[in-house]
Structure formats: structure tokens, C-alpha cells
């Protein structure tokens, strides 16, 4: 058993952290996130070209680093600490994973673009009626000669407005909640000029990211738009989401480290009743409980990350345990950081307000704690 980082991993952590400390300004990034295009392509190019980390988990023959889950964890935590909105998880973790596993000419041709920062992907899996359930798919794809025709609707497609390529789940056989019959398609995409047969409603999310609702009305796709085997995509998609949850858990750790440190510092500075409010025992105990939640979250991020290579059941169990732990911690630490900052925590004047919103979004992304408690319970039923 070994929890130490290698020299290379330490270097990776320090490089990413240093880059963001110098180049990623919170106020500037929020301004761009709220108005304008919503993200900073120059930062993305910096991550690709200067740091060379967008291919972190991709194979070396497609321009990647050949790294694994630990490298992803290190990067995601650093991105969380700086509250980076650029779509690392959507493109590198989810897109990179799905395309690598799908194989085939079309997918392999896109992977170097992920590493170089030129390809951005968005997974369109959830539907208005699906909740968070990946096999609850009513969008259909039918063969029409040499092409595919898609019909259906997807909702809250993260990074949809930025994406150069959509990865869309659609049912090629079976009925609504069947686990078999779910296929994955790639769609060349530009939200400002969508392909015929795609209606796009882009919007901002509460954490100043971008997402979209999509409607497919007889969208025509070429034969090679099908990624992987017809009707057999679910296992890869579930793995992609588990990998995303592990990465987001690490991101949340980065966020919560910053939030706790800021809160402790604020209570030391803030004077009321002639003393720093950090001297009140009720607030000290509150911050200790936040600290304990943070330490459990760090452990949970390891639990998920180190089990990503395990068999599907063990992996799912570890990832759900992490999501539940992170969700609980994100809520407790976020809410109490606001409470201890008083009115200032309710504003966008300090970092805390922005971090609280991202922590709230993380609770919501990839399924709430209740869903993962249920998945854990089902997986551990004797």
C-alpha cells in the first residue's frame, strides 16, 4: 500500500498549480463566464500546449501522456482549487474515455484533437424523463440506407454550447429502460450554427458554466457516426460517468480545501464582541466538523480513483461511496462557510460565494447522494 505520489506526479501537481496561480484570475474568469463566450480558449490552449495535460490519460500514439486515474485526480484537484470552469471533465475524462474505448477510425481521428485542445466534446445522455439514469433512453436512432436518423431530446448537456463534437446516446433497439440497445453517436457540432435537424437552447448553469437542451428532429448522420458496437454502449458510458465522478470528487476536494482555509482565515480576522469570532467555541467546533468532512472527502476521492480499474461492481460501489461522501461534505462545508462568512458569504464579493455555487452543482451532477446510496445498497445486498 502506498499513498505517495511519484516524482513525476508531484511535478505535474506543482506545474498545474503554478500555471493556474499565475494565469487564472477568479474575477476575470467569472466576467468571461457570465458574459461573452463563457470560457477562455487561451487558457485551454495553455493547458494543451504549455502544460500538455489535455492528453493526460490518452495513449501515446494519439498524442497522449499514457497516464492514469491518479494523474487525472491530481489535475482535477488543482482545477477545483482555482475554480476553473473550462471543460476538463467533459472533454478529457468523458470524451477521451469514450472515444478511446470505442476505437475505430472516426474516434481515433478525434483523439489527437483532444490532446491538442482543438476538440471539445459534450456527452448528451440525460433526457427530460430519465432522471440521471443512463439506460433510460427514449432518443432513437434508426438505419436509413447508409446513414442514421436520430430523433429525441436531451437536457442539461454540459459544455454543449462549447462543444465541437456531441456524443449522443440513442436507442437502436429495445424499449425505454432496457440496458441493451443503447448506442453512442458522434455529431460534428457548432452551437451557433447547428446541423440541420438539431435545435439548441444554450444557457448558463448556476456555477457559471455552459450547458444546453437539444432536440433532434430527423438528424441525419453518416454510417461512421456510430461509435463502438451497435446497441452495446452502456458499459462504456457507465465507466465514463464513474471516471467523471472520481474526477469531480477530486475537484471538490480542491474546492473544499480553499473554502475551509478561507473560512478559518475570515473568522480569525472578523471581530465581533471585542474578539475574533474564531475564539467562539461553537464556531471552532463547526470548523472542526468541516475539517473532518474534508478529510473524509480526500479519502473518498482516493477510494474512487484507486478502484476505477477494478471490476464493474467494485468500481461502482467505490465511486458511489465517494459521490455520497463528497455530496454530504460539499453541502456541509459550503453551507457552513456561507454561515460563518455571514452576509458576505451570500454575495459575489468574495471567493466563497462562487465556490459555494460550484459545490452545489457538484452535488447535483452525475446523480445526487440519494441515487448513489441506492446504487451502493443494491450492490451490497446479501
Amino acid at each position: 500500500m502506498d499513498f505517495a505520489f511519484t516524482k513525476e506526479q508531484e511535478l505535474l501537481r506543482d506545474t498545474v498549480t503554478g500555471f493556474l496561480a499565475n494565469r487564472y484570475d477568479l474575477e476575470k474568469s467569472r466576467g468571461i463566464a457570465k458574459s461573452g463566450v463563457g470560457w477562455q480558449p487561451t487558457i485551454w490552449q495553455g493547458l494543451a500546449k504549455e502544460l500538455d495535460i489535455l492528453g493526460v490519460t490518452l495513449a501515446e500514439n494519439v498524442g497522449g501522456m499514457g497516464g492514469g486515474p491518479v494523474e487525472t485526480m491530481i489535475i482535477a484537484e488543482a482545477l477545483g482549487h482555482a475554480l476553473v470552469v473550462e471543460p476538463f471533465v467533459d472533454t478529457v475524462v468523458i470524451g477521451g474515455g469514450l472515444l478511446s474505448r470505442a476505437g475505430g477510425d472516426r474516434a481515433m481521428a478525434l483523439l489527437p484533437g483532444i490532446a491538442s485542445g482543438d476538440v471539445l466534446t459534450a456527452l448528451a445522455a440525460l433526457e427530460p424523463t430519465s432522471g440521471y439514469t443512463l439506460h433510460d433512453v427514449t432518443t432513437t436512432a434508426r438505419r436509413d440506407g447508409d446513414s442514421w436518423v436520430l430523433n429525441g431530446a436531451k437536457t442539461v448537456v454540459s459544455s454543449g454550447p462549447l462543444a465541437t463534437h456531441l456524443l449522443v446516446t440513442a436507442r437502436t433497439s429495445g424499449t425505454r429502460r432496457d440496458t441493451a440497445g443503447v448506442s453512442l453517436f458522434v455529431v460534428d457540432f457548432d452551437a451557433d450554427n447547428p446541423p440541420t435537424g438539431v435545435e439548441v437552447h444554450g444557457y448558463r448553469t448556476i456555477d457559471d458554466r455552459r450547458a444546453a437542451d437539444l432536440v433532434f428532429d430527423n438528424l441525419n448522420l453518416p454510417a461512421d457516426a456510430l461509435l463502438g458496437i451497435d446497441g452495446d454502449a452502456l458499459a462504456s458510458i457507465e465507466l465514463a460517468i464513474d471516471e467523471a465522478i472520481a474526477a469531480v470528487a477530486a475537484e471538490a476536494v480542491g474546492l473544499m480545501r480553499k473554502v475551509l482555509a478561507d473560512t478559518v482565515e475570515y473568522t480569525k480576522q472578523r471581530q465581533q464582541f471585542g474578539q475574533p469570532i474564531s475564539s467562539f467555541q461553537v464556531l471552532q467546533h463547526r470548523m472542526v466538523d468541516m475539517y473532518i468532512e474534508l478529510e473524509q472527502s480526500i479519502a473518498a476521492a482516493y477510494l474512487a480513483t484507486l478502484n476505477l480499474g477494478a471490476d464493474a461492481a467494485q468500481r461502482a460501489k467505490a465511486v458511489s461511496a465517494a459521490k455520497v461522501t463528497i455530496g454530504r461534505a460539499a453541502r456541509f462545508i459550503g453551507q457552513n462557510a456561507v454561515q460563518l462568512h455571514g452576509g458576505m458569504g451570500m454575495t459575489e464579493e468574495l471567493a466563497i460565494g462562487h465556490y459555494f455555487k460550484r459545490l452545489t452543482a457538484i452535488e447535483n451532477e452525475f446523480g445526487p447522494a440519494d441515487l448513489h446510496i441506492a446504487r451502493y445498497a443494491a450492490l451490497t445486498r446479501p
Partner: protein, 410 residues
């Protein structure tokens, strides 16, 4: 002992219901339903005040001679409860429910004649100037200076968390006229015309993106001594008197029951996390039931407080307990509603809500598109704004201090 209304009270309830049924337009109900915080859309709130005023019900808790109603405490509760259940917008509490009571108790005849009728019509709209950047929970340490200069006090300093400072034309404000050994002394309660030269309002952008709160800066602002409420140096007495009105007298449970009922209705139409109907998800059902149980119990606690007040007894620190229970249950419900909203709980779409103030840095979509239902659009904003419940009007930590002292004698 019983829980029923008397025949006269039932008759009154029916009268209130008939009035609400007739006067609450769909637009006003919509403003009530889509509230993102404890503050209604400003215009809708004023409109509702005008309608209530026509009926003589804008300020029922005032003495009859100033335009109040000759109601029992139970009737006040019934009115408040029925208004909430019907989805009426809330009136701004600052004027009618707060400073007016201090003007009645401490005001000069001139102050009463000028302010009270205008507060009723909405012509005078008050904001509250209590907290300062360095004086929050420790309010008595406030330091905004008021220097005696002939007929005026010259005020310099800053107030923060001033709700609706841009809409208000008057502020009731605590200023420091002298430094005494006991910090509660030397504070003076003044009424400030917001159009006086030297006042600058800076809106604060909240996490919801709404500009409801403000910081207000005062640079040598001349306030006539005729606008001092009570005696110079005795403002803390006035403020303490007002606190009773800020913390008590409302009906928290009905609002919480309305929130729970709307959530239950929404959940019947909404897929849960696993794609099956949310209302059939046993985990969700249990959480909703638990919240409802807490609201039902809180309602009885409120009734007991009301009954004690009606008998002329002091209900003790119950107001602090009800403030804690009400705000924390409200926060719990906003969490549950946000969870129920599913993935769409992440979408920022304030154009589908009735925000409590102007929106910062937001351009609505040209076609007005809303992802999902209106309640899903309200959910995250209500969740963010409701975090203020455990901070404002004396943080819940301060309320627990009060309960430790006054409730347990610690």
C-alpha cells in the same frame, strides 16, 4: 383545550378567503409563487399593498386610530395564514411591520402625521440601516458618526445589507451620537430622507445574481433633529422595541406548508433520479414527510405562542426558537426542492422567476426559453437566497445564545 377556530373565527377566515379569491389576480399569484426569497417582486408587492389598503387591511397590526384593524391575535394569525396559503405576495416588512410600530410608540405628532398615512399608501417606502461592515451580530458596536450641529445631526459612515435601498425613499437608521462606557448607550434612532445630499447606494450582487442588498455610504449627510425618533442617545431602546416586531408576529408554518405542498404536487409530475416518478421514490417520500411533520409541529408551537400573547402573557424566548426552527426548516425544504428539480436544478434561468431585485450580468434568451418548469427555475435561486435565513435578524447562533440565557438560565 382544542385546535379549532371558534364560529366567529371561522366566519372571519371565510371572509378573508373570499377577499383573497376575488382580489388576487393571476399575475399577483404568479409573483407570490415564483418568489426567489422572502422578498416579493417590488412592483407586485406595492400593487398588493394598494389593494389591501383599499380594504383597510394593509397594516392590520397597527392601532385602529392610525389605520389598523380591531382584530384579536387569532384573527391576525388567520389573516396571515390565509394570505400565505392563497399565494399572496409579501409586503415589505420594513415600513408597515417594523418602523411604523416604533413611530407609533416613540414618534412626535408631526412624525406620526407625516409618516404613518404615507407608509400605508406606499408613498413612503422604508429601508433599514442597522448593520455596518464591522457591526453585524454585535450590532451595538455600530460606529456611523452623527455629529451635533445646530438643528441637524451630520452623519458619516456606512450601512450594509440594506434591502431595497434603491427602491426606498426613507431609511430608519441607528447612528452613534456619543461614545459611552456601555456601547448600547450613545446610539440614536433617526429617520433619513434618502434624497438628502451625500448618500450613495452601491448594490451588492448576491450569489443568486440578484441585487436585493446594498451598501449605503453617508458623507456628511445632514439629518434634521426633528427626524430623531425617541431621545438622542436612547436609540437602543427604540431598536429593542422594534426587534420584537422583526422576530415575532409572523406565521412561518403556513409558508413552509405551502412550500411542502407545492413540492409534493411537482413531484407527482417529475421523474426521480432513477427515471421513475419522484413521488414514488421512498427516500424522497420519507424526506418530504419528515419536513411536513416538522411544519405541522411548528404550527402548534406558533399557536401556543399566539395563545400566550392573546392572554397577555410574555411567551418568553419562544420567538428565538421559532426563528431557528422556521428558518432551518425552510432551508431544508429548499434543499429538497433543489434535489427534486433533478439535473435542471443546475440551470440558471432567472427570467422564469420573480426575482427580489434587478439581475446582474444576465441577458435572457431572445425566445424566452425555459428548461423544464418554472419551479425548477426558482429552485436554485431560492436555495441560495434562503441561506440568509440563518444569518439575518440575529443569526441562529445568536438566537441559540439567547435561548441558553433566557430559556435555560445558563
Amino acid at each position: 383545550m382544542d385546535l379549532d377556530w371558534s364560529p366567529a373565527e371561522s366566519e372571519f377566515r371565510d371572509e378573508v378567503r373570499a377577499f383573497l379569491e376575488e382580489k388576487l389576480t393571476p399575475e399577483l399569484r404568479r409573483a407570490g409563487r415564483l418568489m426567489t426569497s422572502v422578498y416579493s417582486d417590488h412592483e407586485a408587492s406595492l400593487e398588493w399593498q394598494r389593494i389591501l389598503h383599499e380594504r383597510g387591511w394593509a397594516a392590520p397590526a397597527w392601532p385602529v386610530e392610525y389605520g389598523g384593524c380591531d382584530w384579536t391575535l387569532t384573527q391576525h394569525y388567520i389573516f396571515s395564514r390565509e394570505s400565505t396559503l392563497a399565494g399572496a405576495p409579501l409586503l415589505s416588512p420594513m415600513g408597515i411591520r417594523m418602523v411604523a410600530h416604533a413611530i407609533v410608540a416613540f414618534g412626535t405628532p408631526e412624525q406620526k402625521t407625516f409618516h404613518l398615512p404615507r407608509i400605508l399608501t406606499g408613498e413612503v417606502f422604508f429601508c433599514q440601516g442597522y448593520s455596518e461592515p464591522e457591526a453585524g451580530s454585535d450590532l451595538a458596536s455600530l460606529s456611523m458618526a452623527a455629529v451635533d450641529d445646530g438643528d441637524d445631526l451630520v452623519c458619516t459612515g456606512s450601512k450594509i445589507w440594506t434591502t431595497h435601498a434603491t427602491e426606498a425613499n426613507w431609511m430608519f437608521c441607528l447612528v452613534r451620537t456619543s461614545r459611552e462606557e456601555k456601547k448600547q448607550r450613545g446610539i440614536t434612532f433617526v429617520l433619513i430622507d434618502m434624497n438628502t445630499p451625500g448618500i450613495e447606494v452601491r448594490p451588492l450582487v448576491m450569489t443568486s445574481g440578484e441585487e436585493v442588498q446594498n451598501q449605503v455610504f453617508f458623507d456628511s449627510v445632514r439629518v434634521p433633529k426633528a427626524n430623531v425618533l425617541g431621545k438622542i442617545g436612547d436609540g437602543w431602546t427604540v431598536a429593542k422595541y422594534l426587534l420584537v416586531f422583526e422576530r415575532g408576529g409572523g406565521a412561518a408554518a403556513p409558508m413552509l406548508q405551502v412550500m411542502a405542498n407545492s413540492l409534493a404536487s411537482a413531484a407527482a409530475q417529475q421523474p426521480g433520479p432513477d427515471g421513475r416518478p419522484l413521488i414514488d421514490d421512498p427516500v424522497f417520500a420519507a424526506k418530504l414527510a419528515e419536513a411536513r411533520i416538522r411544519a405541522d409541529v411548528l404550527e402548534i408551537l406558533e399557536f401556543r405562542t399566539l395563545a400566550a400573547l392573546a392572554r397577555g402573557e410574555n411567551p418568553g424566548p419562544a420567538a428565538s426558537m421559532i426563528k431557528i426552527l422556521g428558518t432551518e426548516l425552510s432551508q431544508k425544504l429548499t434543499e429538497l426542492i433543489l434535489e427534486a428539480a433533478g439535473p435542471r436544478g443546475r440551470v440558471y434561468q432567472p427570467h422564469a422567476t420573480a426575482p427580489g431585485g434587478p439581475l446582474s450580468e444576465f441577458t435572457p434568451p431572445a425566445d424566452g426559453y425555459v428548461s423544464g418548469d418554472e419551479w425548477q427555475a426558482v429552485a436554485p435561486l431560492r436555495y441560495f437566497n434562503d441561506r440568509a435565513g440563518s444569518i439575518y435578524a440575529g443569526s441562529n447562533e445568536i438566537q441559540r445564545n439567547i435561548l441558553a440565557k433566557a430559556g435555560l438560565g445558563l
